[in-house]
């Protein structure tokens, strides 16, 4: 199989992921898009590993080994990410990235989400916990 097919597929996957990261509002979908981008890289790693080993320049298959590492680390990372998203959702009642703007300059007074944040009585403590 020619190297162009997996390379083009990986590029498409990466662009899809990038679009998702930049455009989706739901934090879980953003995380899924990040996974897409990671897998595009994994595909690249495997494809180039095969291509290089055909040329007998690399017999250790380090690309495949690195792919395994990436998959394991991605699994751990997505676990933490989902946990954070869950915690934020429980505190704020939303996982919409557009509404999570606590780090904006001067958000205490002008933040568009300040109304939503102060809606519930437990929000003060929850916000403190979330920002801590």
């Amino acid at each position: 199989m020619h190297l162009a097919y997996p390379a083009v597929l990986a590029a498409l996957l990466f662009c899809t992921g990038l679009y998702g990261v930049l455009a989706r509002r739901n934090a879980i979908l953003v995380l899924m898009s990040v996974e897409l981008m990671l897998n595009a890289v994994n595909l690249n790693l495997v494809a180039f590993d095969v291509w290089l080993s055909k040329a007998a320049r690399d017999t250790l298959h380090s690309g495949q080994a690195l792919t395994l590492f990436t998959i394991a680390i991605a699994a751990a990372e997505i676990g933490i990410g989902l946990a954070i998203v869950l915690a934020v959702h429980r505190n704020r009642g939303t996982s919409d990235i557009d509404k999570l703007r606590d780090t904006a300059e001067g958000h205490e007074t002008v933040g568009p989400d300040s109304d939503a944040l102060t809606a519930g009585p437990a929000d003060g403590a929850g916000k403190a916990e979330a920002t801590a």
Binding site: L22, A23, I97, T103, A104, E105, H107
Partner: protein, 664 residues
Amino acid sequence: MTTTTLAVLVPLLPFLGAAAGLLLGRTAPGFVRPLAVLPALTSLVLAVLVAVRQGGGQAVNAHTELTPTGSVPIELALHIDGFAALVAILVGVVASCVQIYSTGYLRDDPRYPSYAALVSLFTSAMLLVVYSGDLIVLLVGWEVMGICSYFLVGHYWETPEARAASIKAFLVTKLGDVPFLIGLFALATQAGSFRITTILGTVAHGGLDHPTVIALLLLAGAAGKSAQFPLHTWLPDAMAGPTPVSALIHAATMVAAGVYFIARLLPVFEASQAAMVVLAVMAAVTMVGSGLAALAQDDIKRVLAYSTIGQLGYMTGALAVGDRSAAVFHLLTHGAFKALLFLAAGVIIHAAGTNSLAAMSRLHGLRDRVPDAFWTMTVALLALAAIPPFSGFFSKESVLGAAEHVATGHTERAPGVSGWIILVAGLLAALLTAAYATRLWLLAFNGRGAEAPDHGRQPLTMTVVLWVLAVPSLALGAFAYRSLPDWFDGRDLTPALTTSVVGTGVALIGGIVTYAAWRHTTALAARVPLGAVAAHPESDAGQVEAEAIASHAPAYGGVASAPDPADPGRLLLGPLHRHAAVGFHLDAVYAALFVRPVQAGASLVRFLDREVVETYVRGAGALPGLLGAAVRRAQTGNVQTYVSALLAGTVVLAVAALLVATGA
């Protein structure tokens, strides 16, 4: 143990006691009193042993050099001659009495542990000064005393008077210490050693190039420590400390150090006629001025403070006529009776609930409330006024005799003019001393008016030490004047007939005139009611005294004087009284000359710092601040915006790299 070991232990024990007291004061309060009293008593015993072994004969010299220190070697040296041995005993006696007295005087004081430790440290420093044979080691003790006096005078730091007095005591003595240090360096450079014996050897061979400059520099330090004019102003204000501290500072330690130092290095001063005349003038001004000021004071402790300055004037006067035996003789007797006077004054202040003589003169029967203080204070005042056969008579007559000796040209040790200055000023001061001693006694113990309040018996620790000190006040002079020359230079200390008769005569005149003035004015006392007493008469003596000091200025309009027309001092001094009460405006002069310029300079510096320097700093910070505010606008809080910017940057960089790589 060898004499050297004993002598090393004498200053070391109070030092260890002080360290242990400071460490254990909070955790083991039960040990504080033994740790305060026992080292002082042990040092006293050891000092007596050292004196017995030394026996007034050959001086004990010992030295060791810890490490080479460059050009002029600094050695840990002991030099114990008869002067050192006897002065150390005096320090031990007074320090032990003060420590025992303090256990009663400050028994409820929460800061007693640190107080007792500082008194121990003070004692240790003075003993170091006394025994030291090396000027740098002596300087260490000298400066430790300075800082201890700062802490002890400021013991009641809740009151503004005590805070001001402690800072004043520290600054004024330091003002003298700076020239003192330069003088020490100059002396050591010329002699090639800090050892006192080596320096005296150099002086004896005439190896000193500028004796006048060195002597005057050293004199500044000694004048600051010994409260001589014009650096005496810290001492009357130091009365804001507790009474036992006053007794310690005034009798045996701090103020004695300056006189003792000059006595040790007297040949250096004798090498310069000008320095001796300056010393004589300083002593004369001090004696007469302090006598006049003492006559106008209302606070019983300030009277005693000015009397200390005057008696120190006698000692420097004796040194100015080149007779250190007389100076140290007077130092010993004065140490005993002045400690007694202060400690008795503490008892009286406690019993009367006030430190004001005007208020005491309106209390009837104070002498029956405190009979121990009355009898011992009478003895001490007679000794102060130099009435035979009390100890002050013999030492003061030895000073006057030495002055007369020099004035009539019997000896070449000092210029004749200093002899005349000291003789005239000494006789005048004897008159004034008797006058203010009589005034103090009459006002404190012969009051008419309301019955004195009964606060129960004074603690035994406070009354016993009075009697212990009364013994040397009564008898030291008469018994010692024959044997002391063996310990000292061998100069005769027997009172000469002429000066004895004249001196005692003027003292009697002073006493009688004051008595007459008192009889004349005392009728007025009933018509002008005065008096404010402490609010907590049942608390310990230290608290009563602190309240008395704090309430003196609001009650009588000043710390020094009270508007009392029944005061015989007012009648005797006439128009001079107003000036004498404030110490002849010397504080005001210092305020105008030094304090105000310094304060003006400080406000100028403050203005330059706040308004000029800070403006530049703020201006320099303004532009980065504006830029930062602009950049912060990009921080929207939306992660996706950041990632978009990151992507755009990456693409731009990639395109640029591509263009560069292809060479387009």
